[in-house]
Amino acid sequence: MPRPPARPCDDEMRTLRGRGVSVTVSTVQASRPEQLVASATEIGTKIAALDTTMAAQRQALAQMRAGWQGQAASTAIIKAEQNLNRQEELRARLSALRQALTTGGIQLGFTRSGLLTTVAMLRAVGWQVAEDGTATAPPLPPILRLMAPAWTAILQKLLAVFAQIDAQTAAAIQAAIAGPVPETPPGTLGDPRKLPSPGTSPEDVKSWWDSLSQFEKSQLIAEHPPELGNLNGIPADVRNEVNQAVLQDDLARVTDVADQHGVSTDEVLANPGAYGLSAADATRYTNAVQTQKGLDKMASEGKKDRPVMLWAYDPLAYHGQGKAAVAIGNPDKAQNTAVVVPGTGSSVKDGWLESENATNLYDQMRRGDPDETTSVIAWMGYDAPDSPTDPRIATPGLARSGGDLLAADVNGLSATHEGGPTNVTVIGHSYGSTTVADAFAGSGMKADNAVLIGSPGTDLANSAADFHLPEGGQVYVGAASSDPVTWLGQAGPLPDIINRELGYPLGLEAGLGRDPAGDGFGSVRFDAEVPGRGGLPDFGDHSRYYDVGSESLRAMTDIANGDGSTLADNGLTAEGRRQPHIGLPDQLDLPGLPPIGLPDWDTPIPGTPALNDPEGDRGTVTNDHQY
């Protein structure tokens, strides 16, 4: 006799029954799955209490290690460690138990309610349902009898599922209590060997790090997992140690192979596969070399002897262009910290870390205020447009995603900062200024002051108010009258139109938002003229804001040292750009008729310095020159 089509699960059910699982409708009815969930919640509370206890014990243990030597100390420390290990084990078991109870409770609850609803519905219309799920149709109408096998199959399937979940839950509980110690999720206090997951807040990362013993910390640093060096909330000196070790690995991977085969590194890089390496290994090496060159140049050993730290390092980021941030001076200890954000064409691969932007600012900040501790972070932490012809430059997309990354890094600084208050200034140049504006206006970046230089526009920020700076904070703007990039954000669609009509002489970098140097933006504009320039456009003048001796670097130095309020007294502030308009009258007066209203049709004229930039004709800088 052929098997009825409505009962495909017989084998499965027999298997379950064969294991001695026997679940009836009454058993299901009597079960209380919600109690499992309630127990899980209770266990959660216990875990939290245990975490607190363990964190305290870890700190006590760390102090014990630091301050107590000798035989008795060793014995006590070993005992304390054993105790902690037992607690870690207990925590892992409780955590697994909670998980088993929660999952089982929820699944059993759904199955129970499905089964009981079906049984109640059948019984309400005259069906009989036996304990094992067999459904018997009422006598009339006879056609119902044909449906009996199908209903029986459904009910018995539900019973089997319930039994299966029940058995699984029981097994999971048994395993949690008596099996091998379960794996704990990464980043929990219960397992110091695992890093917090990427989304963890810097404050929580810091608490986790502080909860580790010195031994555990040293072990992690020695292992140098790359994530640890880029994790906000980890102290800068630790990040530096880890990142430097990862960088050395990246160098050695290629040089070792080259040495073994007696060939040049160039040969290995040209055919990494022939030497057992991957293309990614080659990219890592190339960006490691660029990063090392940047570190060496910034350190300037024997000459400037600057204290440099590799604060972030990910050589494979951004399609192989690499990510890195070098801190000159420890940002965790600095009273004044400046973050330098570059613009179009900048990347680790292309050698931005060797540029003198951050070093010039650091040297000037130290000389301007030698008694205050300083840190300048050269932040190549986002994917900047590759060149003026990169189509991505036309849109603020990279600035907005870069703004998110910048905000995360800058906001993380406070979690690890030691001692008194810190003064943080974020400085963006060119497309980087759009990134900085977006970080403040769109990504919740918190810093004391913003500096925008050579800005093509501020995208999401329509005015200084959108930066949400703390009281006393300012948006400072440096825009050389001879820097054509800064004419682009002046207003409206006209810069775009003109740029397009002229065949994109400025690349596609037109129309990234408002000009922050405009007189209605609410910014403080500082002098940023290039000596010897007479207001004629010169693309080179877009890239001289960090020149040693320039009024622009002087102003940025004072701002970053917390002395921005002195700019006006020192004659370093500039008037904002006026923005003349092509205006139509509001209304037309026609003889004998009421006035006809006209739409608001003001069109700002894109500026030329001679026309509307008060900085365009400053005698002191532009005329007092030797030729």
Binding site: T344, R367, G532, S543, G549
Partner: protein, 149 residues
């Protein structure tokens, strides 16, 4: 980020030799006049914009150690005096506003200061004019031997 066909120079074009001599020669006279104890000294063609392209200027950076027990301010003054004797004038070139003790000869600017990160050390920098239109890598050249020899 922008390429230009002709770099905008701060005056008539100078050759590599002239660019180098403009900063290395006075550095050599200074080191020998004062007897600076060098920790390091480097010369490079430094890009005048941050784009790594022409124009370039000559740049000398010197790290020195203060003599044991010397009064640092007095020692800096000794350096300044030696520079004045060599034709340097007080202050930065017109229109320039650097921090640090500045001296100038025409548009060439020197900055002299203690190193705030290392109490026993000081720094001398000499910035030449942006008048070199050739291509350079920006690599540093060790000129300790040249300055002391």
């Amino acid at each position: 980020m922008f390429s230009e066909s002709k770099p905008n120079l701060d005056g008539p074009e100078m050759s590599d030799e002239q660019t180098r001599a403009q900063v290395v020669d006075p550095a050599k006279r200074l080191v020998q006049a004062v007897g600076l104890q060098l920790r390091g000294a480097g010369f490079r063609f430094s890009a005048c914009t941050d784009q790594g392209v022409a124009p370039f200027r000559g740049l000398v950076e010197i790290g020195f150690t203060f003599p044991e027990g010397a009064d640092k301010d007095a020692y800096i003054e000794q350096i300044i005096t030696a520079m004045s004797a060599d034709g340097w004038r007080d202050g930065a070139p017109a229109g320039k506003k650097p921090y640090g003790r500045a001296m100038h000869q025409g548009e060439v600017m020197a900055l002299v200061s203690p190193n705030p990160d290392h109490p026993d050390r000081g720094i001398v920098e000499i910035y030449g004019e942006c008048r070199n239109a050739a291509d350079h890598s920006g690599e540093d050249e060790d000129i300790r031997a040249e300055l002391t020899g």
